[in-house]
């Protein structure tokens, strides 16, 4: 009815090219932003921040990052956990070596460092593809975790190899450490997610995104029409690792506060983020958010429902949570192999044809 282009006249190319061409979508987007910025910070509690929203936002960044590499450029990566660890340890070293540095600089530098490491491990992608590349990135995962375990310099020679985030501020307000307020941590992550998602969306719509997609769809054809595979693949690795690094840094500094590389950034994390983009939808920014929500919020919601509302035994609730999340993953992938993003766009198609969808 109101979800259609009709009547929404565009008078410039810029308006015609905008991300949300349908007015309803645009307003929905503004409303989400308004709620995220204007409502949630005022009502957020420690539990909502630390157990639900902050992990969701942080994993959304990681999922966008991996989606750029795997979804848009077609390079399978199993090294996400390792790259997140690079971000985390860079943050830790910067935080402890330069106590005066503000958190935005630290986080961006962590991303930049991860981008460099990502490019280094992306070099094999010029020669190998598909499963073979997956194995090469898997090697990156194990190598990086081993490195951060092995070299005590990275964890400042602490007895246990644990790194702990000291309190650091932005504009005089603590965003890391135990005394940081829930709203400050939330807004800090929200700002990163907003800017990074906005950049990612526009990168993928521009010439560089088209190069990535050309490489993904058929690299030989892309090369023939003039796409430089070296540039396209390495920029994808760099941008993707930048995102993943920022997410790993935030995971350590803002969310966990203390981390241990094998546990927090192990192979499980690589798979988790990969599942997020597969369930959310490859090659879609919305899919990254949907996948992160599915993998982060759903288990917590199920647990609260079973153990909290129904009063089940927590161990039983945990077992059921595995069963239900697993079954839902299979269900979604059978019903819609292209992920939640595809379901979302199908729903939008139908809405546009409403009241006579076919």
């Amino acid at each position: 009815m109101f979800y259609r282009e009709a009547g929404d006249f565009k008078t410039s190319y810029a308006a015609d090219n905008q991300t949300f061409p349908i007015a309803f979508d645009r307003y929905r987007y503004y409303i989400v932003l308004l709620i995220g910025l204007g409502v949630i910070p005022f009502v957020i509690t420690d539990y909502w921040a630390n157990a639900i929203l902050i992990p969701f936002l942080i994993y959304a960044i990681a999922a966008i990052g991996l989606n750029i590499l795997t979804g848009y450029c077609g390079q399978v990566s199993l090294g996400t956990g390792g790259f997140m660890a690079v971000g985390a340890f860079t943050s830790y070293k910067l935080m402890t070596a330069f106590p005066g540095l503000d958190m935005v600089t630290i986080t961006l530098l962590s991303g930049a460092m991860t981008a460099m490491v990502g490019v280094a491990f992306g070099l094999p992608s010029l020669r190998i593809k598909g499963f073979y590349l997956a194995v090469a990135t898997l090697a990156a995962q194990f190598f990086l975790v081993w490195l951060f375990n092995k070299v005590p310099w990275f964890y400042n020679y602490s007895a246990s190899g644990q790194i702990s985030a000291p309190e650091r501020t932005l504009f005089g307000i603590a965003v890391t450490g135990p005394n940081a307020e829930a709203w400050a941590k939330y807004l800090f992550c929200f700002a990163f997610v907003f800017v990074l998602a906005w950049i990612a969306r526009n990168l993928t719509r521009g010439s560089i995104g088209r190069q990535w997609m050309a490489i993904r769809d058929m690299d030989i054809a892309a090369e023939i029409i003039g796409v430089n595979p070296l540039k396209a693949k390495l920029t994808a690795f760099a941008v993707s690792s930048f995102y993943v690094g920022i997410s790993g840094a935030l995971l350590f500094t803002v969310y966990l506060g203390a981390a241990e590389v094998g546990e927090a950034y192990g192979i499980i994390k690589s798979f988790l983020v990969l599942f997020m983009i597969i369930i959310g939808g490859l090659g879609s920014i919305f899919g990254a958010f949907a996948g992160a929500a599915f993998m982060v919020i759903l288990p917590v919601a199920l647990r609260n429902f079973f153990a909290g509302s129904l009063g089940w035994d927590p161990a039983l609730a945990t077992h059921f949570e595995f069963v239900i999340v697993g079954a839902l993953i299979m269900f979604f992938l059978i019903v819609e192999p292209h992920g939640l993003a595809r379901l979302w766009s199908l729903a939008k198609e139908k809405l546009r044809l409403w009241p006579f969808p076919h």
């Binding site: 630390n50 992990p55 309190e167 609260n304 153990a307």
Partner: protein
């Protein structure tokens, strides 16, 4: 998504407003690769509080309310559990995971809730001058390392010169804790230390045991947890390593770790921070808790190594609550009062006898500076069917561990701008 959000809200709402009980959160893990150790500990922890409720009507007239939350030994879940339970007036956290402990130390300190990490967690938290809300009495990892070496010294006529000792450890914060102490001790006593890390969850140890077979160390010391222990014991049998020279710490010496190997594992030794064997309190638990249908688990774990330790942990918490009630003169204590109670805790043989668990642990007293207890432990041995106690409580070498604790806690204090918590006295 909207629906999920309502579920989540419903969950938080159902958790409800704080009632005037003594709230004890139990962050247990009854699922995952570490459940074998998590279940008996949690059973013992909950059963003891249930016993106090059923028999004495709680502590000082206040009933204890246990709020349990499943962490699966995962740090992110541990954080979620902490955040979801702290609002209910939680008095003390006992996460039974070194990884989760590291997450909770800054959070709990900021929220003013004490943390009792009994024989695990951050060793340097024994320095109460820096870690105001963290307690790791009665013993810590560095004590354990020192106790093992002291025992070996005694067996070898006071000298370990030229001996080789291999540390087989869980490749996590937990497993790495003793390395520094063992390195210091190896310089002091002249033994050669080699380290073999086993990655989570610990089922893959072929390589490590191949190295052990090749190098034939005099002793293998293990810092293991979960399935890693069972696998290591089996691998040691397969490698034909002399079992009496294979020594676990107190998290690697439970019944389920060796029961599967049975008689083949006879001779395997492990430390323990509490005594084993039958105690009057178990009968009380059976009558008041299990027969009343209040058991936390299926009731089969009573008297097992980790059950006893969980019960011991609950006893220490209950005694701290009692001490806090005496200090402040109120029955419904707050976490801040609980902290005072833990800091003034004194455990005597007479009191343990009175509670139906005679000599379960060493006598110790906590002070503002010393949150670590005596650090003493006993050596136990698996005889093929059960654990038998070999020694009395062995004291660690404080001259080795104390400087290390000072050094590590000073670093933490510097990184986090913590000033002295105990004043000049």
């Amino acid at each position: 998504m909207k629906k999920l959000a309502t579920f989540a809200v419903a969950g938080v709402m159902a958790a409800g407003p704080a009632l005037a009980d003594l709230v004890i959160p139990d962050l247990h893990y009854r699922t995952g690769p570490y459940a074998a150790g998590g279940i008996p500990f949690s059973d013992g922890y909950q059963d003891y509080f249930n016993l106090l409720n059923a028999r004495d009507g709680g502590i000082g007239g206040e009933t204890v309310r246990i709020v349990s939350c499943e962490t699966a030994y995962n740090t992110e879940r541990g954080v979620e559990c902490y955040e979801s339970t702290k609002g209910e007036g939680a008095l003390v956290y006992q996460p039974l995971s070194t990884g989760i402990t590291y997450q909770l130390i800054p959070r709990a300190t900021a929220d003013g809730i004490p943390l009792h990490t009994m024989g695990y967690g951050r060793t340097s938290a024994a320095n109460g001058d820096v870690f105001s809300h963290v307690f790791n009495y009665p013993a810590n990892y560095w004590d354990a390392a020192s106790v093992i070496i002291n025992q070996l010294l005694e067996e070898n006529g006071g000298s370990l010169e030229g001996k080789t000792i291999t540390l087989l450890y869980h490749n996590s914060a937990y497993g790495r804790e003793p390395i520094r102490t063992l390195e210091t001790l190896s310089e002091m006593h002249g033994f050669e230390l080699s380290q073999l890390a086993v990655d989570h969850p610990g089922q893959e140890q072929g390589n490590q045991w191949l190295t052990i077979r090749r190098e034939r160390p005099d002793y293998v010391v293990m810092w293991g947890w979960g399935v890693m222990n069972q696998v290591a014991v089996q691998e040691a049998i397969n490698t034909r390593f002399p079992m009496e020279n294979f020594i676990g710490n107190w998290w690697a010496g439970a019944d389920h770790d060796v029961a599967q190997a049975g008689a083949d594992a006879a001779g395997y030794r492990a430390l323990n921070m509490n005594r084993l064997g039958d105690m009057p309190v178990f009968d009380e638990i059976r009558t008041h808790v299990h027969e009343a249908g209040l058991a936390a688990g299926d009731g089969t774990n009573v008297g097992s190594v980790l059950y006893t330790r969980g019960m011991y942990a609950a006893m220490l918490a209950a005694e701290a609550i009692r001490t806090a009630q005496e200090i402040h003169g109120v029955a419904a204590i707050t976490p801040a009062m609980m902290r005072d109670g833990m800091e003034a805790l004194e455990i005597t043989n007479a009191r343990m006898e009175e509670l139906g668990m005679p000599m379960i642990g060493p006598e110790f007293a906590v002070s503002c500076e010393d949150h670590g207890g005596t650090g003493m432990a006993i050596m136990t041995q698996w005889n093929g069917t059960e654990w038998v106690t070999l020694t009395d409580f062995i004291a660690p070498d404080d001259s080795v561990t104390q400087p290390l604790i000072e050094e590590d806690s000073a670093q933490f204090a510097a990184e986090n701008n913590i000033s002295s918590q105990c004043g000049e006295s």
